[in-house]
Structure formats: structure tokens, C-alpha cells
Assembly symmetry: none
Homo-oligomer: 151 residues x 2
DNA sequence: GCTGAATAAAAATTCAAA
DNA sequence: TTTGAATTTTTATTCAGC
């Protein structure tokens, strides 16, 4: 009945108001004639993966999820979809070829993905070199990237 | 124990361990012979803008700031301030040494800075290798980084 | 300024119920 | 499965001291 809609409203409220604590949400929802207790808000926050962010100016603010990893993966997939040319593995190294101008961006995204077994990444104009911690890691990373390309 | 160093260690601990509550950090730091109380950790968390992220699998986890309000240069300066060890230039290359665990992050930040004359950056655990497009570019980049360190 | 001890405040969970 | 009331647990702050 209620939970999904309440959570949708919570998202809007977070956008429109400074929410410093869960009781603030209880009060804001009350204004919208939605009566819930702090316990329910606590559960919603867990459900929705909201975070309480300390603000530099002192105080705290609840905010929408930090899906950094998801966003990066999405960006990487899209960039690869647009610019991918080839992928090869040899020893500790993976070489990804892309359309000119895309190497640095892809390298940065791969870095941000923090792949297991990746030692470092270097991006040129149309080439990305990924150095793995071992040849095994390189093979595994190669497969991970192939999987990413197929999705 | 200085605050800055403790906070640097906290960053590393967050990377290496699942920290579900502030007392976990108190215990982890205690293990490293750093005695602080929960009150201090609470203040550190506010300082560092760490967030307690609800995990989909239930439970919570403290993590580094999701959407850092800081721009890349500020982040880079702060990271270098905390983790910088040395900087050297030779031919096309600049080698930056940092405290263990910081190489990849610094490399990514330097990449994101899009410095003129930088060809690519590779970050290991405690070393960052910056490859310039020419020896002149390397010299110039070296000076740019030194300037950044002095600010 | 930075910190710990004590405390207040806030958030998470338990339990019973719908 | 969802919820509120009560409770426990966790976190933030106050206050004193350094």
C-alpha cells in the first residue's frame, strides 16, 4: 500500500528540504498527512540506502544513495560501446584499443572500477594499457572486460 | 598521535576492513596502538565526511565520501598533503612516491587533472609513474606538481 | 586547538500485532 | 510483510582538562 509511495515522497522531500535527522522526515511526512514513526524511517533509510552526510559547515544531511561504482560501470560500458576496437592479453598486460581520443577516459574509468588484480592503467589517445599484478590476474581481468563488452 | 595521521590511517582501515560502527574503528586503531575513544571517531567522521552506507545485504558500512564536494585539485592537494613522500623527474618520466595504499588514488586524480603534456599515469600501491609527451613536458609537469605541493 | 568521560540525542532493532 | 511502541545500540555533543 504505502511503502513504495512513501519512499518516492521521501526522495522528493530530500531534494526540497534539508533533512538533518530522521525525525525531520517524520515531521515532513506528517505535513503531507503521512503518519509514520522514526522506526519506519530508519527502515526506509536502510531500504533506500540513504546516507547521512556530514556537511563541511557543520551539521548533517540525509542524501540520496552514493552509487559511484554503478555509475562508473555504466559510463564505462557506454564508452566502450561507443569506442571499443579490440582487446588483447599477454603476460601481465592487457591492451585495449579504442577510437582515437578515448584512451584516457577509458583508462580513468577502468582505474575507478578498482578491478581486483589490476596494478595500474595507462591511457594514451587510442590505447589503454592495463597492467595486472600477475599473468593470472591479467587473464581474469581480460575475461571480466570481455564480459562487460557483451552486456 | 596527530589527527591528520590518524585520519590517514582511518582511510586505509576503511579500505581494508568492513567497518560497521564507530567502535569498530576504535578497536582497529587500538590494534595499531592508537588509543582513541568513540567520541574522537565521531568527530573524525564528521571532519572527513565519512558516510555510513546501508548495504543491500543488511548491515551498514562506513565509507569514504560518496560525492565529494571537493574538486579534483583540492582532492589531489589533500591526498598529497597526507600521503606524499617524494617526487623525481627523469627523461619523460616523473616518479611520485607516496605512503602505501595511495598510489592508485593519486594516479587517478592526476589523470583527472588532465595536465598539459601528460601522456598517461600509472599508479601502484605506493608509486605513481607519470609519463610525459616529451622531456620538456616532464620538466614542466614536475614543476607544476612541486608548486601544488607547496600550496 | 584536541581529547576522553559522561551524557544527550539519534538511529537501529526487537517484539507484538495487523 | 509492514508497522508502532518500546528498547537497545550507536552516534553526537557537552563539558572539563590539557
Amino acid at each position: 500500500m504505502r511503502k513504495v509511495e512513501r519512499q518516492r515522497i521521501i526522495r522528493q522531500l530530500l531534494d526540497e528540504h534539508d533533512v538533518e535527522k530522521q525525525e525531520d522526515l517524520v515531521a515532513l511526512l506528517d505535513h503531507a498527512d503521512i503518519k509514520v514513526t522514526q522506526a519506519t524511517i530508519s527502515r526506509d533509510i536502510k531500504d533506500m540506502q540513504l546516507v547521512k552526510v556530514p556537511s563541511p559547515s557543520g551539521g548533517y544531511r540525509y542524501s540520496l544513495p552514493a552509487q559511484q561504482a554503478m555509475d562508473t560501470e555504466k559510463k564505462l560500458k557506454r564508452t566502450l560501446y561507443d569506442a571499443y576496437v579490440s582487446l588483447d592479453v599477454q603476460d601481465y598486460f592487457i591492451v585495449l584499443k579504442a577510437l582515437p581520443g578515448n584512451g584516457t577516459a577509458i583508462a580513468t574509468l577502468i582505474d575507478q572500477m578498482n578491478f581486483d588484480g589490476a596494478f595500474g592503467t595507462i591511457g594514451g589517445d587510442d590505447t589503454v594499457l592495463i597492467i595486472a599484478k600477475s599473468a593470472d590476474d591479467a587473464q581474469h581481468l581480460y575475461q571480466t572486460l570481455l564480459d562487460l563488452l557483451e552486456q
